[in-house]
């Protein structure tokens, strides 16, 4: 699906993204929807499900991405390594904040 809404569950991107916020993610094929440092991506991580994190480093010309949460104990690339391009479901293009 090219555009998809997701509801955020958890606090690892707090305070940028909060539990209960909605995001719209665009799954347009690269390079139209090129992912850059600072972008927030939705991806599948085996064993953990569908996750959301911010890109800290673009690796190997864009074939993999080092992702991070904002919390000291966020589960991110420090635990499961880089996220491959194939695992990415979309890039967040609209963030709807919970009031």
């Amino acid at each position: 699906m090219l555009l998809k809404f997701y509801k955020i569950r958890g606090h690892s991107l707090h305070p940028d993204f909060k539990d209960g916020d909605y995001v719209l993610a665009a799954g347009f094929p690269l390079p139209i929807n090129k992912i850059r440092v600072g972008d927030v991506i939705v991806f599948h991580q085996p064993g953990l499900g569908t996750l959301i994190k911010r890109v800290q480093t673009v690796l190997n010309g864009g074939s993999a991405f080092d992702v991070r949460g904002t919390q000291i104990n966020s589960t991110d690339s420090r635990d499961y390594g880089p996220v491959t391009r194939e695992a990415i479901k979309g890039k967040v293009i609209w963030h709807i904040h919970k009031p």
Partner: protein, 167 residues
């Protein structure tokens, strides 16, 4: 406005969740063991008190053995209570929770201190205060989870009030 509108659409279409996990996302947390720990501390204080009152000879091997066991269990369960609270506070609770419940950090510190005091002493008042503070923590924990709680009399040898979720 957008959030309200999106929420309404979500109620009908059921959007997928995307997880922003911290720690190992096991999602299994419960203050019940902390409550059991605090109840056990009270029970051990009661047993120690009764044991001293009913035994004239305190220098027998039997007395020393039983008393040592009561004290060891009291030590262990006071520490268990502190451990369980530390894990929930450190791993489950996040900045938004401490913002929503500004008393939370102070309450956890109080539990740590009462747990230590319960180990140092055989004072029933201290051990009951430990349980009350843990109950307060449990109420906040279940509120965060969106689950109602009630206070019931513990169905054990110690019948103090404990907080349980209405599941």
């Amino acid at each position: 406005m957008f959030h309200k509108l999106t929420q309404k659409i979500d109620n009908h279409l059921h959007f997928d969740h995307v997880d922003a996990h911290c720690d190992i996302p096991c999602g299994i947390y419960d203050p019940h063991q902390a409550i059991i720990g605090a109840l056990t501390v009270i029970r051990m204080v009661d047993l120690i008190d009764d044991f001293v009152k009913t035994h004239d000879k305190v220098e027998t091997a039997e007395f020393i053995n039983s008393m040592s066991r009561y004290v060891a269990v009291k030590e262990e369960h006071a520490e268990l209570t502190k451990h369980e609270i530390r894990v929930i506070w450190g791993d489950f609770m996040k900045t938004p929770h401490t913002e929503e419940y500004p008393q939370l950090n102070e309450l956890v510190h109080k539990i740590m201190q009462l747990g230590s005091k319960a180990r140092q002493s055989v004072d029933r008042e201290t051990s009951v205060a430990l349980l009350q503070a843990v109950n307060e923590f449990a109420e906040i924990f279940w509120q965060i989870k969106g689950i109602k709680t009630k206070r019931v009399k513990a169905p054990y040898s110690v019948s103090e009030e404990i907080v349980v979720p209405e599941l």
